[in-house]
Amino acid sequence: MRRLLSTSFAIILMAGAAFAAPSAGGKVNLIVQPEPPSLMIGITTNAPALAVGGNIYESLLRYDEKLQPMPSLAKSWDISPDGLTYTFKLQDNVKFHDGKPMTSADVLFTVNDFLMKTQPRHRNTMARVESVSAPDDKTVIFKLKQPFEPFIRSFAFGSQPIVPKHVYEGTDYTTNPANEKPIGTGPFKFVEWKKGSYIKLEKNKDYYLDGKPYLDELIYQIIPDGASRAVAFETGKIDILPGGSVENFDIPRLTALPNTCTTEKGWEYFAPLSWLWLNNRTAPMDNPKFRQAIMYAMDREFAKDVLWNGYGKVATSPFSSKLPFYSEQEPQYAFDPAKAKALLKEIGYDGKPLKLLPLPYGETWQRWAEAVKQNLGDVGIPVEIESTDVAGWNQRTANWDYDIAFTFLYQNGDPAIGVERNYKTTQISKGSPWNNVEGYSNADVDKMFDDAAVAYPAAERQKIYDKLQAKIMEDVPVAWLLELGFPTIYNCKFKDIVTTANGLAESMRDAYIEK
């Protein structure tokens, strides 16, 4: 009887929680790691800047976990049947944090002037745009030169934050004093940044959505040591540890704490995919069979289960499975050392030692390099690990000075935006660690990428991408490792902390504390 009572009590409680309106008030302490150089995300687009700046600036659209568009500064949108005209209707009563209204003029200024000067990715996107116009204060129309289906996914806050025209017009954007005290339209306003200690944001009382945001204050603490960040969460000084802010080996200890929740959601837009760059220009990596042997030699399930605590997923395509147009194609590479050895024998590999460059992002990556070294050693490929710091890693990968190098890249919502840059011939260019660093070049693949980008509608793109994924899987230009999972660890009293594919950075407007 007592058990029955407590069960029904629990059910009532749960029902109550499900239907209770979110309550306003309270503050949240988060981690931002490392300390961002600036919060002006129209200029600085690295992950920590976006993590904080996503609360200050907004873009036309947000995206759900399937990467479907949701309203943000645009309340509705329409795509013409030929896929050439995108019409956005803006929200009413949107104001910048300095009180001035946000209109279509600000959108025009942002996409035509500001971001053209500051952001490489925006320049690429705009190369497909014929014109942008604003027939009235609340309407913006993009006309494309030819259909480009991924266009609808390029309005995220990280790619196209709307900046105030009245503040920036006619100034040097990079030295404008407003960069120190960012002015956006977002649910939270910038209050204070004590360098080396914390960044404080407060509720935007004039936010255009009634009742939102619920939280009064966001405090981003800057704690440079991973172990200290874990302790800060343990002692309750930190409420939310965003994905990637503690070392993986601390995660089981933290998730076992009472009243602690985790979620892997909120990374669907970035969909980080890790792989080994294999320098296709030099022997033996110039031989596809050697590269296949590397794939067979690696125990990626082990890496996932042991090094990443079971978070993430073994990669089965050059596209992350979270990306539109992902499909699993043959061949697949299960852990099979015997097959790896057979391939190496077939090509007559002479046992030349290879140099492996780990990613200098902490202990997990160092251990992963050791695991790969052991896997490859087991099939007869001697590997030497060469450690360096972040600047050294950038320099060496960007200048092709490596045999094998760890990396992971964001896929940014569409294969035409986040994937093709790593495989197309035109993307081979020294000086950047984020393009076709491996030096893979295949005319068929280039053509398929080009065709798929402009094919319309989506079903046509899918057909090409299916063939493309099979072809790349066969050639193994790089050795794919894992779709990385970065669990967010948080105090369970916080609700709705991840409501979009971009995670914490733009979900705090929906988050609340359960009373």
Binding site: P37, K200, T235
Partner: protein, 323 residues
């Protein structure tokens, strides 16, 4: 004396310029540059973007020109602009200086005070259990890595006992003012200052003890005993004073590290100090900022060397300071 100080100052300035030039080349010898690091962090880049950054930072100029421009501004007491933080280097350093000085001066006072006291006690009770205990504890602190001690201190006092905050400079958003704020900062200061002070404290203990034991055997101590002075007075006025010379030398060394010497402790305790600023500048190849911290640290070392030399004379008038 004035001539001595003037001469030393002049030398110090020449040395400082040499150090700056040396540092400049050392930093530029490291792989990568700030533009590549910033582009790398953005997760995407193109040639235009890199070129823009390099032009903005003046990295498109030949190296000797960059050095010349830098030296010229340093001589005018301008340490330039941080590439990454878009802020004058002097302001960034000045912003962190109070926290750093608070931490390192507290650690300095704690280590020097406790170190000399415990060392004196140990030497006075040579061979007894209290001497053994002090020497052993000092040896342990001397041999243990700082960051490990720091983490253990956090685990014990912050996680297990909950007595003291484990990180930060003050409670964020608590809105304390006046005495409440001072107490809040003090509670945050205890753990980092103690752990930072422990290593040098151990050194002072060992140094003071050994040096006092040596002085104890000297003739003038026997004379003092023979004329019937009380043991406490002998220890204080005759032994300790004569034994302090090596301690002063070491204290001068420690004082030179007041500005940039607490990288590990500042990192573990998230203390917003200059050591961390320097470490981050290094990994981001923020040349101007890094050089700026180096210049200030080098100036501090030179300054405290000078002060130490003057102090020698005060502690032991037999030493003639000459230039």
């Amino acid at each position: 004396m004035a001539r001595f100080i003037a001469g030393r100052l002049l030398k110090a300035i020449v040395i400082l310029i040499c150090i700056t030039i040396l540092n400049f080349f050392l930093i530029h010898a490291a792989p990568g540059d700030p533009a590549a690091v910033m582009a790398g962090e953005a997760g995407e880049t193109d040639a235009v973007f890199l070129q823009q950054l390099r032009e903005r930072f003046g990295l498109d100029q030949p190296l000797y020109m960059q050095l010349f421009i830098y030296l010229k501004s340093v001589v005018q007491l301008d340490l330039g602009y941080s590439y990454r933080q878009q802020f004058p280097v002097l302001d960034l350093i000045a912003d962190r200086l109070p926290a750093t000085l608070l931490l390192s001066l507290s650690a300095f006072v704690i280590s020097l005070g406790l170190g000399i006291l415990a060392g004196a006690v140990a030497s006075a009770r040579q061979g007894r259990w209290s001497d053994t205990l002090i020497s052993m504890v000092a040896l342990i602190f001397y041999a243990t890595p700082l960051f490990w001690l720091a983490l253990m201190a956090v685990l014990l006092f912050s996680v297990q006992l909950g007595w003291l905050p484990g990180f930060g400079y003050e409670t964020v958003g608590a809105g304390y003012t006046g005495i409440a704020r001072a107490l809040d900062i003090l509670s945050h200061l205890v753990l980092p200052a103690l752990t930072l002070g422990l290593f040098f404290m151990a050194v002072y203990v060992r140094m003071t003890r050994a040096s006092m034991l040596e002085v104890n055997t000297m003739d003038f101590v026997k004379t003092a005993k023979a004329k019937g002075l009380r043991p406490g007075v002998i220890q204080r006025r005759h032994v300790l004073r004569n034994a302090l010379l090596p301690v002063v030398t070491l204290a001068g060394l420690q004082a030179g590290q007041l500005v940039g010497g607490a990288v590990l402790i500042e990192t573990v305790f998230a203390w917003p100090g200059i050591g961390r600023l320097m470490f981050e500048a290094l990994s981001q190849r923020d040349y101007n900022l890094l050089l700026g911290v180096f210049v200030i640290s080098a100036a501090m070392v030179l300054l405290f060397n000078l002060i130490t030399d003057v102090l020698y004379r005060v502690v032991d008038p037999r030493i003639r300071v000459t230039s």
